[in-house]
């Protein structure tokens, strides 16, 4: 495929190899590139490193593969001063039991949580609100079937010395609902821990994204 790249203004670090163009017209930049003006790409654009822009929204930070038979998973270096707000997604996990709450704890703190997690059975037969002012915020429902549950949680002010607020949605084992809560401590965090309220997790991935501050 022939690609045409036009940059109104771009620069590579001083002293590095310039851009090269192959016989098909594909352009390769061998080092970091900063585009301070506009850029138009009429073919495919492949970026093998990280790409950030001033106005992009979610920025991938890291993913964590979950091991086998673990009671908890702590993810370090998830939050930093780069972003104030985050999204954490848990997919593909299999739990040793079904219908147990998935717990979330910034900095693995075990006190100071206030929250609500509601679950509705897909048939409408069951609707339950779990209120919590204890040792965690519930962010999901477990299932023994790998890939049959998901939790998506927005985490606000995680890196600031303020309360950490969360809002999210979850599905697992035919139950679905929202989770909303507050870690009622003015504390900045760099890590978080997830764990089922009882039993263990095997497999799955925890995805962490930052909301670009703009």
């Amino acid at each position: 495929m022939t690609s045409v790249v036009r940059f109104e203004e771009w620069q590579e670090p001083t002293g590095t190899t310039a851009a090269t163009t192959d016989a098909s017209g594909n352009v390769t930049f061998s080092n970091d590139v900063t585009v301070s003006g506009g850029a138009t790409v009429s073919g495919d654009l492949t970026v093998t490193g990280n790409m950030t822009s001033a106005n992009q929204g979610l920025v991938f930070i890291k993913s964590q593969t979950i091991g086998s038979g673990v009671s908890s998973v702590t993810v370090n270096d998830a939050f930093s001063s780069t972003y104030e707000n985050y999204r954490v997604i848990i997919t593909k996990a299999a739990y040793s039991g079904s219908n147990t709450t998935v717990m979330f704890r910034p900095s693995n703190a075990t006190t100071g949580y206030y929250g609500l997690m509601d679950v509705d059975l897909y048939t409408g037969a069951t609707s339950t609100d779990y209120y919590n002012n204890g040792s965690f915020i519930g962010i999901g429902i477990t299932t023994t079937v790998a890939g049959a549950s998901v939790s998506s949680t927005d985490i606000f002010q995680a890196s600031l010395p303020l309360r950490t607020l969360i809002v999210g949605q979850h599905y697992g084992n035919g139950y679905m609902g929202r989770h909303i809560g507050n870690h009622n401590v003015n504390q900045s965090h760099t890590s978080f821990t997830i764990a089922p309220n009882s039993g263990t997790i095997t497999g799955g991935t925890i995805w962490v994204y930052g909301y670009n501050n703009g």
Partner: protein
């Protein structure tokens, strides 16, 4: 509603079978960690399977 007993938990999750994960590091629980982990779940409600 039924709740977990220590005997049930020990049978389901014998010592040495439960791990703790920090980033990519997965290791078995120590005896103290396992004992506390089991104790923490005693009395937790058993949820019904769909």
């Amino acid at each position: 509603m039924a709740t977990w007993t220590r005997e049930e938990l020990e049978e389901l999750y014998p010592e040495g079978s439960v791990n703790v994960q920090v980033d990519d590091n997965v290791r078995p629980m120590t005896h103290e960690e396992w004992d506390a982990w089991v104790e923490q779940q005693v009395g937790v409600e058993k949820m019904e399977e769909l």
